[in-house]
Symmetry: C2
Subunit: 130 residues, 2 copies
DNA sequence: TCTGTTCTTTTACAAACGTAAAAGTTATTG
DNA sequence: CAATAACTTTTACGTTTGTAAAAGAACAGA
């Protein structure tokens, strides 16, 4: 999958947050506060996203309505998998260890995660990809 | 912490893999196969890493010996935390869910992770940051 | 229909990145 | 010591990224 730059990803995230195809203004409204861009800036990112196959614009009057062509979970899964591979050779435990050892994730978080994994394991055998 | 570009990170990883301060040649030897760069390319990345405070070079004869100034786990923890925040708002379960739902992590991996978390929880209460 | 407003598209430009040639310096060896 | 080999430093250049002004198209109200 094509990779996104930081800004492109922020735009895409805002669009996903809209929950449905959205126009420029709606997307802008969902952007984090530190993204107070000129209109043309945002539209340029949307154009780059279109070229990368992440959105399809559709004219509606003089406005464009943008539809996401990649699902959020698909993108996030791919990016996280790449991250995991790049930094930890694919070892999940190593990643969690790093997060814990640098105080980025608390004991409580880890416990919650453990419980989540247990429940998932119990009720979702369809995730056995081995 | 200063962020690293992809290439800079690869160089840093190679240096970490050396396990001790290392010269250009040793670092080059640890680089992944797809990084067959000219000498000056690698040295340039090392210079950029120096400017970002990640390594300190020390002349030894006409060679430079590079010492890492940032520990691997510190860097990895920070990058993973940023990743987690950026894509999942800090929710570990969401990240694991995305990895599992896109088939990037198997049921067995998840089980292993759950066991790891349990053992960590049992024997390492010093990781309680709440 | 004229004109101001709202949108988009095109063009632009500086900074960061990937990559390496050229130039300069130190070591080595015949 | 002269010539060559090994290294590093400096300079360079095309691409991608962040950001927006300028230019062009469509709409809405007087």
């Amino acid at each position: 999958m094509e990779t996104l730059s930081h800004s492109e990803e922020q735009v895409m995230t805002a669009l996903w947050d809209c929950g449905r195809p959205a126009a420029r203004r709606e997307i802008a409204a969902r952007l984090p506060a530190d993204c107070r861009w000129a209109d043309s800036t945002l539209l340029n990112f949307l154009l780059r996203l279109e070229n990368k196959g992440f959105v399809r614009p559709e004219k509606q009057g003089n406005k464009n309505i943008y539809t996401p062509l990649v699902r959020r979970i698909t993108y996030c899964g791919a990016v996280s998998a790449a991250h995991l591979q790049r930094l930890y050779g694919g070892d999940l435990r190593a990643m969690l260890g790093a997060l814990a050892d640098t105080g980025r994730v608390s004991f409580t978080d880890m416990e919650r995660l453990a419980r989540y994994l247990d429940s998932r394991a119990a009720e979702s055998p369809e995730y056995d990809y081995d």
